[in-house]
Amino acid sequence: MIPELGHFALALAVALAAAQAVLPIVGAQSRDPRLMAAGPALAVGQLISLVFCYGCLVWSAVVNDFSVYDVAMNSSSTEPLFYRITGTWGNHDGSILLWCLVLSICGGAVALFGRGLPSALRARVLGVMGIVSAGFLLFTLTASNPFRRMWPPPIQGAAINPLLQDPGLAIHPPILYIGYVGFSIPFAFAVAALLEGRVDATWGRWVRPWTLAAWCFLTCGIALGSWWAYYELGWGGFWFWDPVENASLLPWLTGTALLHCAIVVEKREALKTWTVLLAIATFSLSLCGTFMVRSGILNSVHSFAVDPTQGVFILTLLAITIGGSLALFAFRAPVLAASGVFAPISREGALVLNNVLLCSLCAVVFTGTAYPLFAALFHVQLSVGPPYFHLTVVPLLVPLFLAMSVGPVLAWKRADLAPALLRLWWAGAIAALIGIGTELGLHRAFAAAGFAGAAWLILGAFAELVERIRLFRIPLGASWSRLRAQRLGVWGGAIAHAGMGVTVAGIAGMSLALSTIVAVAPGQTIAFGGYQWTLLAMHDVPGPNYTAQVADLRIMRDGRQVAVVHPSLRTFGQQHQTVTDTSIQTNLLRDLYIALGGEQGGKVVLRLHVNTLAAFVWLGALVMAFGGALSLVDRRLRVGAPARRGVVGVPA
């Protein structure tokens, strides 16, 4: 009966979302306060029914109710409880339900935290979110209902893909979805602003924290995905320019641009039209990222197998959402008047440059990802590989990184480049020294440039802070008290920029990585990358739902033991699939990465990597997200939402 309750809750959510799509917008157009007030209540109602609905799905998986189609196809009683729960979103139907749940959480958040918003704006925002929600919930209910029954029920479920039985990947979809779907809030604000025909500083102030929150989650989500690819796929790389990876990078690029643009709207009331377009584009790319992956059109290692009729439904939904908002944009955007003016060399100018570069990057990555599809239309089969991306992305990254440190030290409205650069001379000098030192020591130009860039980004990120506290120009004590008086937002921005530097350092370090493949017999020692690797023994270990072939490997350096590691190959009986379980021994400065490749004539094939600074790649992303979170905290303290007025009751 529980699945039926879930099914019913899903139907209820569709009805509530449909009402939410119509009533508040009609209310806002006709200035009817009762209809406008229906928005928050409906959004919260939709949230409650979807939470209940998802709870029912999790319950069915936990109690192994294999009469539910989705549970039977993706779960099994031999799996640990954790994977039975995470398995609910490890498949097509369940993950779309999770997507809808996150969307309703966003709607609920606007309803609950948006009390200080002008009521017409809030009604329109919730109405737009209702439209999106209604479409995708209807899709879930009619075309991909996870509560379908199967009769007679199988004795055992089919279990989830072994590659997904991993803690990192288990929590990856929720985090990534919060990132993707979080951009629905700026999108709804943008469409609401178009409906109203007005964008002002208040609008910017409301949009920015939501964008920032979504951006933080998307950053973590992408990093988690890349980290998973690193340790689970056993290829030793961290980014493969796979269409699915690119699909998550595209909204991140435009989202980053949006984040910076919203500052300009808030502070200077300029770039309004562009910001609205970015908000629409970011959510549109998020939608494409989530659903194109499921249409089966893209060729990727991550693809989902999908029924083509679902693809047509999804494409129609995307066309309505994206096409509708862009049509509204074409119709209404010319009305939005720009007011703030600024000189090309100014903080605004730097942010425009940031936007131009980020959007060019987005266009380049988009072209590389979509070009094979366009070509396929003309019966030409081709693929675009990493060489294209490296050749096109790097020339755009260089000016972006250069500008990233200069922008924050420029003044608003009009600035002089020379004094700004003077404030950065020390960062530039140290970066140049590091670059030259690396080149002389290692003769690796890419790594040298990368390390110099990383130093420039990290040091430059704090240049604004150094300037604000007037370090070395006033007594240190006075600088210290100025430092403590700085807003968290200033810290947040600096830390986020520095995080990019940390990631760049990681990428540069990875370009120095060493790897080899060896076949060794037990007891044999080989020297590689400055370490001695000894295979001690091989043995089989049973796991909960797999058997593992485990190697014991001792790693020594200069006669001292560094680690004993146990890479393994897991064979999952139910799916007859083998998954490598790589061993990674890290001290943050280098990873010793060992993948077991099976046995060959009494010898064991091992793949050994010494990955310099690998951890920095993901650490940098975490630092970026942390910086974002820090300025988010600051905003809440400072904005406190435009002084909460007493909620005015609605006359019945």
């Binding site: 030793g236 083509p308 074409a330 239309l377 089969q381």
Partner: protein
């Protein structure tokens, strides 16, 4: 043109791009349903066409070669992209050796690799190549539409590419795919 109209047209741009995009996806989806399009077939646009033009410097002691040299022998040949930093290239070296022993001409192109590193690779894992050229900046690889290294192209006696094999060759793929095709091409 009136400034307002120009502005309106500009604002229509994003909608136009989105419409074009959805048109393409729609067409592909229809074609996929009719079974005319398989996104997972990693076919090269080169298949059925001549090799792209290239002239590459050699890895000493090899002389460099160009696309026209590949078919000088009027026999089918292989063009193999590899790199010393690529692990699957190590794994496929025994399969390539086997092909070379059977008399197949393999033209090697070292992709984005240092001279010394390539030389070390060839001494350590054997040199199955007729000639080895260097594509140091990877531009020839772009013209080939290289997906990654290693990648192998089968070229027939008239210089037309007949197969692109992405990824490392194994003794199985040599036996089941490469050798039958070479025999067919005569």
């Amino acid at each position: 043109m009136d400034a307002i109209i120009r502005r309106r047209l500009l604002m229509l741009g994003p909608l136009g791009i989105a419409a074009a995009g959805s048109g393409v996806f729609w067409a592909l989806m229809l074609r996929m349903q009719q079974g005319k399009y398989d996104p997972h077939a990693l076919q090269s646009m080169l298949v059925g066409k001549p090799l792209p033009d290239f002239t590459l410097p050699g890895q000493t002691p090899s002389a460099g070669f160009s696309n026209t040299d590949v078919n000088r022998g009027k026999l089918p040949a292989l063009v193999n992209f590899f790199a010393s930093w690529c692990i699957p290239c190590v794994e496929e070296s025994s399969a390539l050796d086997e092909l070379a022993r059977q008399g197949v001409t393999i033209w090697g192109i070292a992709y984005k690799d240092k001279v010394a590193a390539t030389a070390g690779f060839l001494t350590r894992y054997g040199d199955p190549y007729h000639q080895v050229a260097r594509d140091a900046d990877g531009r020839t690889a772009i013209n080939f539409g290289l997906y990654g290294v290693p990648e192998t192209y089968v070229v027939d006696r008239t210089g037309i590419v007949r197969l692109r094999y992405a990824g490392g060759l194994s003794s199985d793929s040599v036996r089941d795919t490469i050798l039958p095709l070479l025999r067919k091409l005569g």
